[in-house]
Symmetry: C2
Subunit: 196 residues, 2 copies
């Protein structure tokens, strides 16, 4: 229930704002991706927002940290600037990451994607780490909350025709069967191959 | 429960970021208010963030709309710019409003405050307005959710010594006993008088 509530507020309080062209003078994320690709002259094979949803709910501040250094941030794109609940010109931006398949210096041509973590999950993780009357419950049910967030968000995107092809949700386990941290860049590249 | 969950995520995912001096090069909201007062030469008698929590959960995009035109937005202050869950340099800003006591042209000297609506409430309101399996329940329990949000948030602020005097929560009924819309500017001025 808490997981689905977070998905609703993420969908209506964020995705609904940045994906559509209601972002005031900004025509929304998809438009921005096309402009970025043209202006910067870089390949952006999948023009969707990749949203990372790790089972642990923990996302670092820079995604490079979970990519074995295959990924680095480049520039930001402003997807919307709107008046929201009295805050004037609230800025909503996204980051374009450059991915070096097999790592920098491997000789593979880099590709560019707009990718970020699902912030409500990080906030939930932080809430569960602090001491308050519900934190034990939050920590014990982290996996369930994340799963329900993911499933609810997927349903919301699928049942909204405008957004059906705008986001790629990437749910993943933080550790592989070998007990090592997964490489998020590798997961993204695999997803891109499936989509092409 | 949903109301208290929203309060926790608002506290850890937003207030904790803008109120403290962890806002990267920005020293946080209180510092910003002092700078603004000095630089703009305007009176800011209460150097706290006023957070509106209307019982209906509905907050307009511009607070002028609920102030009988006593209030108008002036400039924004950037309280933090941090890397969050992979989004680099995510901007958190607040708006300084100018209040004309008794309305513009009344001859009273205007005062300036940083004020905004509690965004999770607006997002909750929007979620409850859309058709999905839980929306009837959301609409029916709006008042309870808002009350629990308010009480939980007040407790979080009171039990955190760094933030005790940083925010002024303003919970109010949207309509007065005369059935007319309340004037939020009047409510704020009344609160300021109590604090001085
Ligand atoms: N007034 C205000 N100004 C802000 O800059 C701001 N940023 C967050 N919040 C509120 O704090 C709480 C925690 O935020 P979190 O980032 O975990 O969830 C956010 C986050 O996952 C996503 N989101 C919103 N704005 C952005 C953004 N600019 N970039 C990325 N994600 C965003 O959508 C969720 C709901 O947003 P809001 O419904 O606007 O209210 C949030 C929320 O209640 C804000 N409130």
């Amino acid at each position: 229930d808490y997981g689905s509530g977070l998905a609703y507020s993420y969908f209506y309080g964020y995705l609904n704002i940045i994906l559509s062209s209601m972002g005031s003078e900004y025509k929304g994320l998809q438009h921005n991706i096309e402009l970025f690709e043209a202006r910067e002259g870089v390949p952006m094979p999948i023009k969707k927002l990749f949203i990372l949803i790790p089972a642990s709910a923990h996302i670092p501040s820079d995604l490079r940290q979970v990519s074995h250094d295959w990924m680095e941030s480049t520039k930001k794109v402003v997807s919307a600037e709107i008046n929201r609940a009295g805050v004037k010109n609230r800025v909503y931006s996204n980051t374009v990451y450059k991915i070096h398949p097999e790592g920098e210096g491997s000789g593979h041509r880099p590709i560019y994607v707009v990718i970020e973590g699902a912030t409500p999950m990080l906030t939930f993780y932080e809430v569960s780490q602090h001491a308050h009357k519900d934190s034990d419950t939050y920590r014990r049910f982290t996996k369930e909350v994340v799963e329900l967030f993911y499933k609810t968000l997927q349903t919301l995107l699928n049942t909204n025709p405008d957004y059906q092809d705008s986001c790629e949700l990437v749910y993943y386990e933080d550790y592989g069967p070998d007990g090592k941290r997964v490489n998020v860049a590798e997961i993204i590249l695999e997803r891109i191959r499936k989509l092409l």
